[in-house]
Amino acid sequence: MKVKTHAEAAEKFIQDEPRTDWHDETLWFVREKRDRSMHGVNEWELLREWASKIKDHTLSNLDNYLIEFEEKAKANGIIVHWAADGAEHNQVIIDIIGENNIQKIVKSKSMLTEECRLNEFLHSKGIETVDTDLGERIVQFRDETPSHIVLPAIHLKKEDVSETFHQHLGTEQGNNDPQYLTEAARQHLRSKFIEADLAITGVNFAIAETGGFVVCTNEGNADMGAHAASIHIACMGFEKIIPKAEHLAVYLRLLARSATGQPITTYSSHYSKPRAGQQMHLVIVDNGRSKQLGRADFRNSLKCIRCAACFNTCPVYRRSGGHSYHTAVSGPIGSILTPNIDMKANADLPFASTLCGSCSNVCPVKIDIHEQLWKWRQLIVSEGYVSSGKKIGMKGMAFVLSKPALYRFSGKAARGFMRLFPFLFRSKKLNPWYRQREMPLALKQSFTEWYKQNKKA
């Protein structure tokens, strides 16, 4: 089945205009909460600058920090694994499952495991995992992927959740009360935590100087799993490293405020050693990150702390939804990360933007997202991932615009054409502009012609 481009998928999404308005307003509300939260921190812009520079430094010394991190982690009893790509990551996990005869698995939010398609892989081997983040459990029941990296079910209304829970958990049909539905999920997942043999979590920050890592949640699901199960596997992209524990202050002050407008998530759990009798594993994953590190124009996309502030502010994301981006990490940051992994499949994504620049402004680590989108466009075109029609059109445009007399002639001819044959431009089929907008008037005189007539001495 051919994957829809962003433009095609977005067009379908927008067909339900009231629902698009609802999706847009819901996410704009989150952006507003972020703004209110920002205004409570006088040193906000300084914090962003520190967060950005700490990550710049870290990327420039990344291998040494990873070596230090691994050494400290191992000394604390954590078993460290390395995976060059998603397939190796999945293999590490299935090997641990096999070696320990694991039956029941719970997983808290990890966009890395989404990127590696872990659930799909385990399912193909007959192994089921239970996603314990409420939003992720909802989409898991519906056989969907998350549409937002922080708010996985943001594309669903409470009626949708109610119907899903009625089907899978036997809740009252038609009871849409979020409190009621959350309580049902609490009871359902509580038993899963208690029975779990293995808990898989993500990693928000990994600290080189201590070998420990931090996991941030509001629900407490990562901790319920990790402290109950006899085996805990934490999965991280290698760019999650920060140098020192004191740097956590900078990131923890920015993360939740940028993501949801809260001053901090309910739980910021610092893991250093496995508890007595527990196995703790850490999987460090590359999956294209080292390649991105080598791209001077795009490497600082690796500073991302996965807050999704860029999603919430993006006027295009809000009106097209995460599923239109056909990648695990969607939104503006996804559009500068994913072409690195597969430029052909993701060639449409850097064009799913007006380059308004709002994303770069909300990014807590000052990634120049909109500038990278522009630069990806140049690379994608030079690599040939653009339609030949567009190429020919642009070559024509470049030619005309470099020749003043030809430009003036073409302009006059085009306007003349528009006046003589308006029906050609009023074809919704041939002229996408005309589908929902009137054309600008085709005037007899351009500015240049007016100037020649009235001003030129």
Partner: protein, 195 residues
């Protein structure tokens, strides 16, 4: 070549020129005059509750009240007991209605408290209980996370956590629901001889 060697080598050849760490200037960091007021207001705004205690023994009245109501209570403040050590598993701890735990510090800017493993005794306890009561000395409240990390060694023990209020979620149509998988409520008892 192992994955480890492949990855470290790739990073080594692809990383940019070394740039320096920035200086985090504490002079620029917010400082609150009335730490207790800021902490209290923030914690309440995120769904937590605040009580004043004159001394630690008042905790016993609170515990007795729960026991009278027939609730299962665990008190971590007095340290390891037969009922509470690192050995209890999830099945054993599941019925805990209220847990009483002492915290090291509180953070005014976000209403969070820092609890380390030796204070919670069992890592599951602060998460698996239905209601969490945390005791915090008044003069252990600091302004921001920067101040907090200056005072704690966050990776000294095997586990530690900043807890800010009760567990929550807004995953269903952005409606805030207090009480997700962790505690349904969280109360910080501020220990202050002036109360």
């Amino acid at each position: 070549m192992s994955a480890r060697e492949k990855i470290l080598h790739a990073i080594n050849i692809n990383k940019p020129e070394l740039v320096n760490l920035p200086e985090v200037d504490m002079q620029q960091v917010t400082s609150y005059d009335d730490l207790l007021a800021k902490f209290t207001a923030t914690l309440q705004s995120i769904g937590g509750q605040v009580l004043g205690l004159a001394d630690i023994n008042q905790i016993h009245s609170l515990i007795n009240e729960e026991l009278t109501n027939g609730h299962t209570v665990l008190n971590a403040i007095n340290g390891i007991t037969d009922d509470l050590n690192s050995g209890q598993d999830a099945i054993t701890l599941e019925p805990v209605y209220k847990a009483f735990i002492k915290a090291s510090i509180g953070v005014a800017e976000n209403g969070a408290v820092w609890i380390k493993e030796s204070q919670m005794i069992n890592r599951l306890l602060p998460f698996i209980c239905q209601h969490l009561i945390v005791v915090l000395e008044k003069d252990k409240i600091v302004s921001t996370m920067h101040h907090a990390y200056q005072q704690i060694n966050s990776f000294e023990e095997g586990f530690g956590v900043f807890i800010a209020g009760p567990s929550k979620t807004a995953d269903i149509e952005q409606s805030l629901v207090i009480g997700a998988h962790g505690a349904r409520s969280m109360t910080v008892c501020i220990l202050n001889k002036d109360f």
